[in-house]
């Protein structure tokens, strides 16, 4: 079964109903905006927190995101799902906030990251993931964390993530590739430190 989270409309609200809600937001109906805010704020908070790892920024980015939704709702062209469109705004707002904060931009140094430790057996690996994944995620870039979050927390397809991040599908795969490497390296370093 596909693990469907924010990858499609949630909370029993269909994709079409979300589009209708956004159309009402475009017509500046405040109660529709409030409904959309209630529908999306928990998911966006999780996404922004997971991507930026900056708790203090979450509320600000959420507000900025929803303000863009309010102002730009009329530009929604139904080429994508509402959720994809809104997550794309949240992604851009998160990057902007991190830039204001002076966070380093993504580099290609990631490809040097390689675990030199021998691979443990499956059971041990899974125990490591359970214990240390959250810490290991800190070692990723915001873009890599966004890919992980969108894939495993929200259940998006690769193509949808490319839409959200405004990049080619191969870029998403590349980010995921390096994210996996870095996570494994981080988990392995903990293993060696024990």
């Amino acid at each position: 079964m596909r693990s469907r989270r924010a990858g499609s409309a949630g909370d029993g609200v269909s994709v079409d109903e979300e589009a209708a809600l956004l159309a009402r937001v475009a017509a500046e109906e405040r109660d529709a905006f409030e409904a959309l805010y209630r529908l999306y704020s928990p998911r966006l908070q999780r996404f922004v927190r997971g991507m930026t790892r900056q708790t203090a920024l979450v509320e600000e980015i959420l507000d900025d995101t929803m303000m863009v939704v309010w102002r730009k709702a009329y530009t929604f062209n139904h080429q994508s799902k509402v959720s994809t469109w809104i997550f794309a705004i949240a992604y851009r707002q998160s990057l902007k906030a991190l830039k204001r904060l002076g966070a380093p931009e993504e580099t290609d140094l990631d490809e040097r990251t390689e675990s030199s430790a021998p691979g443990p057996d499956d059971t041990l690996q899974q125990q490591e993931v359970r214990k240390h994944l959250d810490d290991a995620l800190h070692t990723l870039s915001p873009e890599q964390r966004a890919v992980m979050e969108l894939t495993y927390y929200f259940g998006y397809a690769c193509r949808e993530i490319a839409e959200i991040m405004g990049c080619p599908v191969d870029t998403v795969k590349t980010r995921m590739f390096y994210a996996r490497r870095k996570l494994k390296a981080s988990l392995a370093s903990r293993r060696e430190a024990i």
Partner: protein, 207 residues
């Protein structure tokens, strides 16, 4: 992005490896999924990688359970129940009134729709395997969208129920359960973090 983008047009192993994250989250299209499955059958390292990615996915799912981001239907269902059972606290509920009414209507529609489907009169002399016996209760159940198929199967099995309908468009299932176990099954399902809604159809849709 400043990083170098890798072109994934190489050997079959590299292609399958890059698709594994989305094979694990179940979002590949059929062609890609078949390609990955064929490769997994003959590649032990990729099977190991898939197992690792599943562990990662499960960890995210556990976080999601803690966050309670998704099971809002369950929470809102409780709120709707409270709304029916208690005087409304005007200021707190005022802004939510429309949403709650809408959710209540949605819930009613789900139950009504399933009632029509499942309880539609059948010829007395003919009963399908999925039709309720006189000693059976029917429950409408909605699972958290993140629930994996294996978890759902285990939940249904351990509750001594059988799926006899669904999923509907909103993801609801109809479960048949021996009447004698109905209350215990409802209680068990309601206590499960994977379940967002349980309604007893045979009781007229009351929780």
């Amino acid at each position: 992005m400043n990083g170098r983008v890798i072109k994934f047009e190489g050997p079959v192993h590299a292609q399958a490896d890059r698709l594994l994250p989305w094979y694990v989250n179940g979002t590949l299209d059929d062609d890609e999924r078949v390609q990955v499955e064929h490769h997994l059958a003959e590649c032990a390292p990729c099977r190991q990688e898939a197992a690792w990615l599943r562990a990662v996915q499960e960890q995210f799912a556990e976080q999601a359970d803690k966050d309670e981001v998704s099971p809002k239907l369950r929470r809102l269902h409780r709120r709707v129940a409270r709304l029916h059972g208690a005087p409304r606290a005007a200021s707190a509920w005022h802004g939510r009134e429309k949403t709650l009414a809408w959710l209540a209507a949605l819930q009613a529609a789900v139950i009504l729709g399933l009632s029509v489907i499942v309880l539609h009169p059948q010829h007395d002399s003919y009963r399908t395997l999925s039709a309720p016996g006189s000693q059976d209760a029917l429950l409408v159940v909605m699972f958290d969208p993140r629930t994996r198929e294996a978890q759902m199967r285990e939940l249904v099995r351990s509750s001594h129920a059988r799926i006899v309908g669904g999923p509907t468009e909103v993801g609801a299932y109809v479960l048949r359960v021996p009447e004698a176990r109905s209350a215990a099954t409802r209680k068990m399902l309601l206590g499960s973090p994977q379940v967002t809604l349980v309604e007893d159809l045979s009781a007229g849709g009351h929780p």
